[in-house]
């Protein structure tokens, strides 16, 4: 349904994103994981065609949706896709709705714009979708303002907006990061159900490996604007081959064993202007050797999955 090949993004002279590839089909969920600053949100903005809004541009690669390349699509045609066939769910529900307008009209917009409905039809559709998202008393909610609702409720409204025109692809950019833990689980389950019921293709952007484990079919691990490992979720979790993926998985808190300490990854993601030469992860990598600082690693492909590490095969040998 949606496939991204070798995507590169630049802001002026800096290139925060390069060589990102993934694809997702209907009824499938792909997770894009990585720490903040790894380029996940940029990937989402690129697919939505909203890079010019933040001053960026696509420098290379293709974004193919339903057979057509979006990188060369004119703005007018792109507008029909946005909200129509590709829905976006943003990170912070507290600030993603217009505070001066009631909920109803904000959701109605989508059906009016993309399904050619009049005001009454659009409102009926809005209430129906709010109902399916388990929002109590949709008619009442439509008459409310955003500040009168909780974060979890607002995120459901945002999801309703993304769903209103029955899209084929949903891009959820950290949909639960700003929410309470209890609400996080509800929203993730909701998205998971939607994928199954509506045969959606979901691109789930997150930094939470445990969310990926629960919901995704495939996963792309990103670091410093590059994909470092991708593959089916079982393979990646059972036999991670890239040291960064291994470290991320090690960071998932497990059980109530009070002897276990929470692990983290030493250091921080480099900023765009400081991307290291060679393998971008080598300054933080426990296994790094001389070659890592000079040569960027190629993908070592194995079945459906691949890892960009000089020592991917060594990892295979150890786990075998």
């Amino acid at each position: 349904m949606l496939s991204v090949r070798d995507l590169g993004v630049a802001f002026g002279a800096v290139e925060p994103l390069s060589g990102v590839s993934f694809s997702v089909d209907k009824g499938e969920t792909i997770g894009i994981v990585g720490e903040s600053g790894s380029g996940k949100s940029l990937t989402a903005m690129s697919v939505m065609g909203l890079l010019p809004l933040i001053g960026g541009r696509i420098t290379g690669g293709r974004i193919v949706f339903d057979g057509q390349d979006l990188t060369s699509l004119p703005e007018r045609a792109y507008r029909k896709l946005r909200g129509g066939r590709i829905g976006l769910i943003t990170q912070n529900p507290m600030t993603s709705l217009d505070p001066l307008q009631k909920i109803g009209p904000q959701v109605d917009d989508v059906a009016r714009l993309h399904l050619g409905m009049n005001a009454n039809e659009a409102r009926a559709r809005t209430e129906e979708i709010l109902g399916t998202l388990r929002i109590p008393e949709p008619a009442l909610i439509c008459d409310r303002y955003p500040h009168q609702m909780s974060g979890g409720m607002k995120q459901r409204i945002v999801i309703a907006m993304a769903l209103a025109a029955d899209p084929d692809v949903l891009i959820a950019d950290e949909p639960t990061t700003a929410l309470d833990v209890t609400v996080q689980a509800q929203i993730i389950r909701l998205l998971d159900d939607l994928v199954k019921q509506r045969d959606l293709a979901l691109v789930l952007i997150t930094h939470d490996m445990s969310v990926v484990a629960q919901t995704c079919d495939k996963v792309v691990v990103m670091y410093a604007g590059r994909a470092v490992e991708y593959g089916p979720v079982e393979t990646i979790f059972d036999r991670p081959r890239h040291p960064y993926t291994q470290a991320l998985i090690a960071c998932i808190p497990r059980g109530l064993d009070d002897t276990a300490r929470l692990t983290g990854i030493e250091g921080t993601v480099p900023t765009v202007i400081n991307y290291p030469k060679g393998c971008p992860f080598h300054p933080r990598c426990t296994r790094a050797e001389a070659i890592c600082a000079t040569d960027p690693p190629d993908f070592s492909v194995e079945g459906d999955s691949a890892a960009a590490c000089h020592f991917a095969e060594v990892a295979d040998a150890q786990s075998a």
Partner: protein
């Protein structure tokens, strides 16, 4: 909800008006001289003077005078002008329409032109346009009205002869005063509109508006503009009082009748009741402007409506 809010704001005006009335009343007595000097004929004796002072009640205790004055005000009794020897109400009624026309037009001019310029400069972000706007804003907010008035008169009236130098005959006599008073307003409103629009563009929800597939035009007019209007409305509301006050010198320079001209004349003659009435009108205009601004904001922003009522 909005009615309740308006009512509460009106209640708050009561203590404010009281304080203002005290200040206005007392401040004229701090001026050296008094109106009686203007009434005395040459060769009058101190006894004649004392008699006149007593006649206008100026020999009484200030506090007593204040309460007499405020009491009369409550009954709509503005009193008699001491020097001009006419009812103050008549003087005000005669001059107020001129001020309202001038102020109203200047307000309209500065709000429409200012918002248009501000919007254009926020949407078309061009370096040359930006520099021009910055220069214009600097000029607009620093050039004093009376000086601008003189320049305009010199150029348009004396050199080109397009508009009358002074007076209040027909619409042509309004053009230069409106330009003079409106100029600063245009600059201010343009600046506030521009900044507010650029701020609104950076809000998170704008991304989602684009993601819904809305066009940039729709987003600008239906979503960004209402946000930008919030600060603009506040500025404009404060401007209502400011324009009437600012008109004082401009009316004088252009030799137009109006509240400002009346005030300046009355000040020269220490005509207490007239000065007080004029100042009170100006103060009322400022208070009314603030009230209108607050209510307009509350009617536009549901968050304010709830927080304050």
């Amino acid at each position: 909800m909005i009615l309740r809010y308006t009512f509460l704001r009106l209640l708050m005006l009561i203590p404010v008006s009281f304080s203002i009335s005290v200040v206005i009343f007392m401040i004229v007595y701090l001026l050296p001289g008094d109106p009686i000097d203007n009434l005395l004929r040459v060769g009058s004796s101190p006894e004649d003077r004392a008699e006149l002072v007593a006649q206008y009640g100026l020999d009484r205790n200030l506090v007593v005078q204040y309460f007499v004055w405020i009491g009369n005000m409550f009954q709509g009794e503005f009193g008699q002008a001491i020097v001009l020897r006419r009812p103050v109400a008549d003087l005000v009624a005669q001059n107020l329409p001129y001020s309202l026309t001038l102020g109203g037009l200047a307000f309209l001019f500065s709000s429409t032109v200012g918002m248009t310029l501000g919007t254009i400069s926020a949407v078309v972000r061009h370096p040359v346009l930006d520099r021009f706007m910055r220069g214009f804003i600097l000029l607009g907010s620093t050039v004093p009205g009376f000086w601008l008035a003189l320049l305009l008169i010199l150029f348009f009236s004396v050199n080109l002869g397009w508009f009358p130098v002074s007076g209040a005959g027909g619409w042509t006599s309004l053009v230069l005063p409106v330009l003079t008073i409106g100029f600063g307003g245009v600059a201010l409103v343009a600046r506030v509109t521009r900044v507010a629009l650029l701020d609104a563009q950076r809000e998170d929800f704008v991304t989602l508006l684009h993601a819904k597939g809305l066009s940039s035009g729709t987003i600008l007019f239906r979503h960004l503009m209402p946000h930008a209007l919030l600060p603009v409305v506040t500025i404009l509301a404060l401007r209502i009082g400011w324009i009437l006050g600012g008109a004082v010198t401009v009316e004088f320079v252009f030799g137009r009748p109006g509240l400002g001209s009346l005030l300046i004349r009355a000040l020269g003659q220490r005509d207490y009741p007239v000065v007080q009435a004029c100042l009170l009108m100006l103060a009322l205009a400022v208070m009314l402007g603030t009230l209108i601004g607050d209510v307009a904001q509350a009617s536009m922003d549901p968050r304010i409506r709830e927080k304050k009522s």
